[in-house]
């Protein structure tokens, strides 16, 4: 457990060592508040819930999570520390897991810092706290899924910029399928079946379900299995990169 914890701590410290980590969280908090109050008109909505705020999370995370994860392996490869890490007596899967958990912890911190919004709606109205808690759980799981994809992409390149762009594109593909416009376009182009499959695979559909307070095990498993799949993929890819570099 100690080696895993050592890597987790080093990653957390690395977020704190440069202004990048703090800047990303600050930008997210400003964007989240702006979306909720200005685009979503939270105060004028007469709805004592955070549904409006959570509705923006898939799109905000589309940039925040790849930005948090882009350095995880790309930076190691660019610096050459990838080789050092791979020759320490550590399991590759533990390295991947520790890095993922550190990024997820940063995402959790960002999410935690949005709780003043919860306090605001609780002060102004009488919200269903269970639904809001479910919204936070959904948001946390969504962040994990995006991060796991971004981490796997980060393994493939030495450039953090390429890792960021690649992860944004891949996360977008896994999100857009649930949108009405995309579903109609897919149905028109490839038929209803493809449209349904894309919607079923979409993060936003499962996110919305949990965020509305319906804690269906299949939705939770959907995110957890995505995370597991991408972490295994990242481990295999890291091994492949090591053998070919």
């Amino acid at each position: 457990m100690t080696p895993l914890l050592a890597i987790f701590r080093r990653e957390i410290a690395a977020y704190g060592a440069t202004p990048m980590g703090a800047a990303l969280i600050t930008v997210f908090l400003i964007a989240n508040a702006s979306c909720a109050f200005y685009l979503g008109r939270l105060l004028e909505s007469d709805d004592a819930s955070l549904a409006i705020s959570f509705a923006f999370h898939p799109w905000l995370y589309l940039f925040l999570m790849p930005a948090l994860a882009m350095r995880l392996f790309a930076e190691e490869r660019e610096r050459g520390t990838f080789e050092l890490l791979m020759t320490l007596p550590l399991r590759l899967s533990h390295i991947v897991l520790a890095k993922f958990l550190a990024a997820w912890a940063m995402a959790a911190l960002a999410l935690l810092l949005t709780t003043p919004l919860w306090a605001t709606v609780a002060y102004l109205g009488d919200p269903d706290h269970g639904v809001i808690a479910a919204g936070y759980a959904a948001s946390f799981l969504l962040a994990g899924a995006y991060l796991s994809i971004s981490l796997a992409v980060s393994v493939l390149t030495k450039s953090q910029t390429v890792a960021f762009i690649g992860a944004v594109l891949l996360c977008f593909l896994f999100s857009i399928g649930g949108e009405e416009a995309a579903r109609s376009a897919l149905a028109a182009l490839f038929g209803d079946k493809v449209s349904q499959i894309a919607a079923t695979m979409s993060f936003t559909i499962h996110f919305d379900a949990i965020a509305k307070g319906f804690l269906d095990l299949s939705d939770i498993l959907f995110f957890l299995s995505h995370i597991a799949f991408w972490l295994i993929a990242a481990t295999r890819l890291a091994d492949l990169v090591r053998q070919t570099s």
Binding site: T2, G80, T81, E83, T87
Partner: protein, 317 residues
């Protein structure tokens, strides 16, 4: 301590290392010499467990790298090529991270870190960010992590690369200090480093071991082995060549500029006795009134052998 058998690595159709065999025990310091692309780094990467060999096997202290990689890596201190350290950390926090990643007990960590900092003379900058340190200091941070857990096997890829002469001397002296207790494999381009530190030398080229032996044995294979060299003034070159180049027992001769004088080297014919040739050369020079600043019988030159071996390999490619 290091046992590599038929070690081979291919990248696609390119075979970077072919059938390398190496056995080294405690107290052995082995120098890996070779031009760029010879396969030195690939060899070290296979021995460190970073790369999986395409064929063959390697074990460290009896632990097979393929079957028990983490157990084998616990016995290894590895300094990779380049300077892979985390710039945002301090040498102290970096070593603490490596200690925890190596699962050293909390009780052992402070002593191990203090020892590694001391061995590499990093105490002064232990709490300074690595990215603010000079290249030499950063190299020493890399070396400190390799020494941290006092491993029985050290694999160092160009440990003195980028260091100034004083720092190089310090690292060489450190390697000598550690040599009796460890098995050390060093790759380098610097011949004097190999001669100073390594009891055994492997010359690599085109992924193969071209020569393997002690420095003396390898130098004996050089064309300069037992050649007679005389240091003379520039103005005496023509007279010296005429008088000494045709001496009985001289197969051929050459002159090379050495600072403000010339070095005339006489290569003895097969079977010619070098001491007798040296005496004849001194007498002939004296008869022709050619002043000799120095006269010596050469042990051989490693740089010459290196050049001959690797040039032949490059031609073959």
């Amino acid at each position: 301590m290091i046992d590599a058998a038929q070690l081979t690595k291919s990248f696609g159709s390119h075979r970077a290392v072919r059938n390398l065999n190496l056995r080294a025990d405690k107290g052995d310091v082995i120098g890996l010499l070779g031009p760029n692309g010879a396969g030195k780094t690939t060899t070290m990467r296979m021995m460190s467990g970073y790369l999986t060999p395409s064929a063959g096997r390697v074990s460290l202290c009896g632990c097979d790298m393929a079957k028990a990689p983490r157990e084998a890596q616990r016995h290894l201190g590895y300094l990779p090529e380049g300077n892979p350290v985390y710039g945002e950390m301090t040498p102290f926090s970096f070593l603490r991270f490596v200690a925890a990643a190596r699962d050293l007990s909390r009780r052992r960590q402070p002593k191990a870190i203090a020892r590694a900092l001391h061995l590499t003379s990093l105490e002064e900058v232990a709490h300074q960010r690595v990215d603010t340190l000079s290249k030499g200091y950063r190299r020493r941070v890399g070396l400190a992590q390799a020494l941290l857990h006092d491993p029985p096997v050290l694999i160092l890829d160009e440990p003195t690369d980028g260091l100034d002469p004083n720092q190089k001397r310090r690292i060489r002296s450190l390697v000598r200090e550690l040599a009796s207790e460890k098995t050390i494999l060093i790759s380098t381009h610097i011949l004097e480093e190999v001669l100073e530190n390594c009891a055994r030398i492997l010359v690599m080229g085109g992924g193969r071991v071209l020569a393997d032996g002690t420095a003396a044995a390898l130098m004996a294979r050089s064309a300069y082995h037992q050649a007679v060299s005389l240091r003379i003034a520039f103005g005496d070159e023509e007279r010296a060549r005429a008088a000494l180049g045709k001496l009985e027992g001289v197969a051929r001769h050459e002159t090379r500029r050495r600072g403000d004088s010339l070095l005339l080297t006489l290569f003895p014919r097969e079977g010619a006795e070098p001491f007798a040739l040296a005496r004849k050369a001194r007498e002939a020079a004296s008869a022709d009134k050619i002043p000799i600043a120095a006269l010596q019988i050469e042990e051989g030159r490693l740089d010459d052998l290196f050049h001959e071996l690797t040039k032949a390999k490059e031609k073959a490619r």
